[in-house]
Symmetry: C2
Subunit: 252 residues, 2 copies
């Protein structure tokens, strides 16, 4: 159940934009039972994207979610780079073209743009890697793509958070199966994290759980997240820690 | 002038925390003239960290900044993993030990913790890879490390944003040289991004600049960032674009 996330955009590498997309995607994948092993961010550069996509596929994650670089400008090169990484051709998707045309006509009617013409820049967004399934963008122009390889399901989503979230919800999550892994966030009332360490270690040895802890300020609380395959396992681990003297509250 | 950033922490891979650290670091590196080529995030896992550190070093960036996993708990394994990746031993740094001891004594005096003892978990933070230079943590317990390899300067910083920022400012930036690259953020008054595309392409061909554009909403503005080695080059590129009919305003 391993997954990886790749976010693409020069603005993420200059620090002009904080990559909240990958956290959002990670959260949804975690809820679905996937373990996100790695997140990577590269710029809007064909060679760089090709390289990193191939590296990720070599690690054979079950899911790869890619976000960013699907727009109409010179630096939106994600679909091209993915096609090249997979040795696929880019192919005009007539369905996508029709939707893009409708999208701009609609914006024109609303008085939001001056010109509804399907120019080259807009048309570019209708090209998907050959064999890819179109993922609908219900709130923007650029469609996404779903490519199923032998080992990996690849989903290519836009970078605009509103568009990415809608596509993730409507098009991606239904394709990746049922919820399998759950997490419980707790606050441990303990004065410092180093006291918690030996208890956590013992819990990890005894139960089939993963635990993350992070300080929430000295003299107050330590945030603890217990991950497990079901409520029961998590409750057992929690109870064991309580017996060792840790007092928990729910929530962060 | 290539740089890479590696952030470490399970909380980043479960989406419980948005990785604002890497954006902050990226921004500071960009201001210093570095081109951040890639950002990677992995969990608190020795093997995973080792693997990715070796991969990054193979790409020979001039700077590698690593953040996260320096605390006292079981899942803080960054220093150990880096030492293993570089085939170095972990060595108790007496200076670090003294500072950590003082840090907890001070918290104890302030009534923030119950026990000032230097237990094993706290002592763990005083171990640095052999030969590493200590980076002072002025606001927390865990010291950072600076390791100079033949090709790459590696800086290891805490993950708590307040501690990371202070260490970056006081200990890292003075070690990586003068400002060399600048960026100008502008707003282009143009109704949609696809109109801008051919003008951007022509500008990129003519001038030694990089340009990033991102829509700021339909019918309003498109954000444009021009990167160049000096004001003059940026101004020339900007002027060229204005002659092609783009009207700019400053700021986002």
């Amino acid at each position: 159940m391993l997954a990886e996330i790749l976010t693409i955009g020069d603005e993420l590498l200059t620090g002009n934009t904080v990559d909240s997309n990958s956290a959002y995607i990670a959260q949804k994948l975690t809820e679905k039972g996937y373990w996100v092993k790695r997140k990577t961010t590269v710029g809007d550069d064909v060679e760089e994207i090709k390289t990193v996509v191939r590296e990720i596929l070599d690690r054979k994650p079950e899911i790869l979610i890619i976000s960013g670089g699907l727009g109409p400008t010179h630096d939106d090169v994600t679909m091209l780079a993915i096609a090249e990484a997979l040795n696929l051709e880019l192919e005009l998707n007539e369905n996508a073209l029709k939707r893009i045309e409708e999208f701009y006509k609609d914006l024109y009617k609303k008085g939001l743009i001056d010109d509804p013409t399907l120019n080259e820049a807009r048309k570019k967004m209708a090209y998907l890697p050959k064999g890819a399934e179109l993922l609908e963008n219900t709130v923007g122009a650029a469609p996404g793509a779903y490519i199923k390889l032998e080992n990996t399901k690849i989903f290519v989503l836009p970078g605009m958070p509103r568009e990415m979230k809608a596509m993730l919800e409507n098009e991606v999550l239904p394709r990746i199966g049922e919820k399998k892994f759950i997490q419980k966030k707790l606050l441990a009332e303990i004065t410092d994290e180093s006291k918690l360490a030996p208890i956590l270690s013992e819990t990890l040895q005894r139960f089939n759980v993963k635990i993350h802890s992070s300080p929430k300020g000295f003299g107050k609380y330590i945030g603890v997240i217990i991950f497990g395959e079901n409520e029961e396992t998590i409750e057992k681990a929690k109870k064991f820690m309580e017996e060792k003297g840790i007092q928990f509250e729910e929530g962060w």
